[in-house]
Point group: D2
Chain length 389, copies 4
Amino acid sequence: MSRKMRMGIVGGGRGAFIGTVHRMAATLDNEIELVCGAFSADPGKSRLSGRDWYLPDERVYGSWQDMIAAEASLPEGERMDFVAIVTPNHMHFHPAAAALRAGFHVVCDKPMTLTLGEALELRGIVREMGLLFALTHNYTGYPMVKEARALARGGRLGEIRKIIVEYPQGWLAARLEASGQKQADWRTDPARAGASCCMGDIGTHAENLAEYITGLRISELCADLTTFVEGRPLDDDGNVLLRFGNGARGVLHASQISIDEENGLNIRVYGSKGGLRWRQEEPNTLLLMWPDKSREIVRAGGGYAGRLSAAAAAATRLPAGHPEGYIEAFANIYRNFARALRRRLEGGQPDPEEPDFPTVDDGVRGMQFIEAVVASAKSDKKWTTFPNA
Amino acid sequence: MSRKMRMGIVGGGRGAFIGTVHRMAATLDNEIELVCGAFSADPGKSRLSGRDWYLPDERVYGSWQDMIAAEASLPEGERMDFVAIVTPNHMHFHPAAAALRAGFHVVCDKPMTLTLGEALELRGIVREMGLLFALTHNYTGYPMVKEARALARGGRLGEIRKIIVEYPQGWLAARLEASGQKQADWRTDPARAGASCCMGDIGTHAENLAEYITGLRISELCADLTTFVEGRPLDDDGNVLLRFGNGARGVLHASQISIDEENGLNIRVYGSKGGLRWRQEEPNTLLLMWPDKSREIVRAGGGYAGRLSAAAAAATRLPAGHPEGYIEAFANIYRNFARALRRRLEGGQPDPEEPDFPTVDDGVRGMQFIEAVVASAKSDKKWTTFPNA
Amino acid sequence: MSRKMRMGIVGGGRGAFIGTVHRMAATLDNEIELVCGAFSADPGKSRLSGRDWYLPDERVYGSWQDMIAAEASLPEGERMDFVAIVTPNHMHFHPAAAALRAGFHVVCDKPMTLTLGEALELRGIVREMGLLFALTHNYTGYPMVKEARALARGGRLGEIRKIIVEYPQGWLAARLEASGQKQADWRTDPARAGASCCMGDIGTHAENLAEYITGLRISELCADLTTFVEGRPLDDDGNVLLRFGNGARGVLHASQISIDEENGLNIRVYGSKGGLRWRQEEPNTLLLMWPDKSREIVRAGGGYAGRLSAAAAAATRLPAGHPEGYIEAFANIYRNFARALRRRLEGGQPDPEEPDFPTVDDGVRGMQFIEAVVASAKSDKKWTTFPNA
Amino acid sequence: MSRKMRMGIVGGGRGAFIGTVHRMAATLDNEIELVCGAFSADPGKSRLSGRDWYLPDERVYGSWQDMIAAEASLPEGERMDFVAIVTPNHMHFHPAAAALRAGFHVVCDKPMTLTLGEALELRGIVREMGLLFALTHNYTGYPMVKEARALARGGRLGEIRKIIVEYPQGWLAARLEASGQKQADWRTDPARAGASCCMGDIGTHAENLAEYITGLRISELCADLTTFVEGRPLDDDGNVLLRFGNGARGVLHASQISIDEENGLNIRVYGSKGGLRWRQEEPNTLLLMWPDKSREIVRAGGGYAGRLSAAAAAATRLPAGHPEGYIEAFANIYRNFARALRRRLEGGQPDPEEPDFPTVDDGVRGMQFIEAVVASAKSDKKWTTFPNA
């Protein structure tokens, strides 16, 4: 099938940060073309956004409902193949569900939904429709995260004992939402963000990363959530003790009030035979630690044959020393999704490694995490169970 | 003019590293679309490459001559606006000259030509035709390089005294070209690479970076070039003393045999009032040094209003802590070129900051640098003049 | 009084790591001379250790009891001024109490005693005797820790909101004590180490550092302690949520099983106006973070006048870029102790900044910390009170 | 011989930076005691300095001539064993020569003398008298420098191809000597410093380090020396191309005007089989680079048995992660000297590895380096021979 996968987008209009990221990520590898969009609930704004992106007016819609209906009625060779949903959290479930029900595959931003209930329902729809669903836990797209995963899951670190995962940011240290800043505004609003701000927006990335790399499941947690900025109805900081199913222990802490921290998603994993460290802000380096030899600096990029795992090598576009970053990692989610979709559309067998992108199950797990940490934060009981559903 | 700029490409077929980089860089910001290509001198290969990239067969050409002729005959609303030339060095001049003569603007990889003579001739054609010409000295596209330039040229460092610029790599430490590796093969061949391997391929980047940031011009140099790997006809390492027009002194060293160095383009600039350091492998950080206060870590990305120069801010897509890398820096060259081209095509006035991309003059200067270091390396005289032509 | 302060030592014989550290630290600044020692409970061993250190045989004692008795009977111009106690934890209280009762000032290693009961009793004796008592929480001796303290306590960071303090080590990842390794042997033995291994040995440093820098007091904590290595009776890892008296929140985690972590005492403090980071393994650098300007790298060493706080400047011996390390930081404890002692002996007034060394009150607090984390770890209740006694 | 080695000191009185460093370094390991000193040419000042250091008045001399004469007349069991000379450059030769002629061993600061002529004469006296002579090229005392040397000389890097050694400082970026600052004053004065400021004071350290680690000898060099600060009679910056006897090439650059650079002695060595990097400001880390495996971070300190070379292990006092710094490295020179001296005094055989401290031959080589770079800087000829005398 000699064509690119066709993407429609919901959200991402003028002023949206993440919409542009999705567009760049989706199209970077030339496997996907953006064919239509419902950029805003305001049809005029949507039109302008569409023109900004050089879409033909007739494929720019005034609502996601219109888009799904109109695209569904286009001939197969023309209509979009999948929908990317890049709206705030409260606007994930309905367009996703409708797109799936109309037979479109879906890429959705995280956290997956506003509530756990919606997440479970969405999972049911995905299963029922048998369509592809990718959740953009984009940090799992980094080559060195994939390398860490290959090492940890392949047993190189021995039995995992301790995981420290952290995600400090500082951009909400003052009451930015009071200025009307769009990103701050909805994230601090329970009606649009859900039950948590800090833990929902970034804590879920940390949770997902820890489980993605190690394959372990958090079984119990103990959370202390705080709102430091007065007048903010949701948490802007949180510290969580973790216990994993295999007996490993851990700490997850995230913050939006840690001044001048930028986007500090970091993880350290220690097993009985080795350890590793990875930092999102310097993503092309993975540090390996051993009991009986020098630390190793593993670097993304070609370098020498056979050095990296297949998954990490496949996630790298450039030779070592040519930094790939956030957009490239994000693009890896889209690329892996596009390739799975292509195989599907061409009637091929799924790759045994497929899907190497986060799915609706990761989305459910994320919503369970939010629910569990919020419940724990309100409880006097030390440990709150994190269900493995 | 509600359309993307239309790019044709010469070179970059299957197996080429830099062709894919150009495609990603050109299209990242949705300002440019690739409409045609002459990917290979072998028409069959060219066709396959075109299909890899989902181009229609009729816009995939068997030679750059065919492409220029055919595109020139297309209607204005359809034909390419500019040609990107991504072939080895010996294949830069002729397609560039022909494209310009046919009225197409040009983006060309560096070093600009095989010889200084070609470079001077090309400059003449650019001036004669009055068209845009961008040279992809891509490292000048990094936001922190632009910030460094704004600081140095704005006088914040005082009078510049010393510049250390270095570019160690290790990938040619063994005789890789003997294995037929494509990148190594042509770069070590005088017929395709020109008078220098190491200094031509990466030394020119170092030279360009030093002059781009400081605005100074090298006036004299003293070079020691070496071929460490037996059987290689060109230099794979070089060390150069620099003297600048204003009296500043410097060192430029580059290497392709410094084992396990990846792509270590680094620069340090010291003036009478301050200094700075930048490293390509960690490109989002710029270190500033002062006589009377603490070192500052300047970081790419939004952060807080007014922190960065306009040029650096414009070169950044993401908030701080979301790493942008090599492709994004490269894309900044294309974006700035596309915007200048759009203004040109729309009949607008050039931006006063325009062009913020390297031009044919940088290309001439690069060829003069190669000629000067090669001459110096052969001379017993200490200083060789670097003409300011 | 033109003489050095005279030190006697209890412990630190052949094979002891920390004894040599105390000797180097005590004598580095030429303010203190070692005049006598009871190096071992085995008189023969003690004698040999004394000769290793070139002490005259008659000042080398077979027991600390002998040393205290004999030294007390020497003329004032000859006998030791203070005793340094560098034995395992269970051997702190008795010699310290006896030395104090005999009129000698005391420097004691940490944790201060085997139990909280002993600590409280020792505090009583110190108060009763009115003598100087220093606890070697040596990490507070680093210049950049003192700078951090001056900044945090001086209000530069605003109201403190969040503290992350961590102390990973990996040296006990396997059952080293089974090999008879002396350091591992006693630290994992409840009879000699007390109620905790990891939290007692290094968790107390982390607790002390957080409180030293910020001046805040932990008010509640929630601990998860683990023993990962089979057959070990005490914890070798622990994660603790912290709440501070002013409403700040924090995390303290420490580990002896985090493979290949060396001595990773690190702290991050975030307030409403700024933040800081410090890492023990790169101790001469302090990173400052601000909402509205670039990060600053504060460096130990002279540099330029007025840059550093008086306390930090006084703790530095060398110009910037001449690394001072663990021994120098440790020596700052001894130097500050020696100077306070000298003022005392000369009948002068205490310095208003005195004592800038940890005291018996820090020792009590450390024992309360151990007791609280051990109690919390056994409890189903979320929060355990940390008394401010 | 159950006693410490006895040291007398020439220079190092009040206000001297390096005198205190020598005292701390000499006594750190308890192998040496300071017994006498001629701290200043002003007897009153010398007396006060002696009291600062708690020396008895009768062992504090008004001149080095007095000291040598008086000590020589003391009984063998009492008089000093060796003299440490810590004065400015012009005051090295005469006291060193006199001490040697009086039968005292010597430790001398670097550069060894004011002129090459003095150096050659001093070498003659050392050889004639058959006494020990150590030059305090203190940076060779770092454990990781010794590790680098063991690797490079042991062949692990293959044939050495390229060496980059650099030593930027910024403390003389303004005319500090005009303020009377003692360190700046004599270093910029030809009568006291010799033919070079920057190259003499720190360039010689760089030259020594490159040769110490690799065992290679510089055979030719090409230097560009500059005085950036007006009114300064000697160079404050220099860049040098190097050629080594085995065909290796290199760059040495040093500076005292690179603003806010502290003490940036750094070296990179690349061979045909591997490479290494070491930075003085983070001295406990050595980075190893290989063509076919990940970079290794070698760390000072115990860690695990057999990891480090014997020389590096012997130069380390503390476990990994407990930073040792400048003073400890300096102390390694003194310790190795003291041990060689003890063996000598006890009539034992020299250690086969002896001497692991720089000798009078290193001192001659340093003076030849100064002479060669100064000559080269004045020459139009590209290459100046560096004699291997």
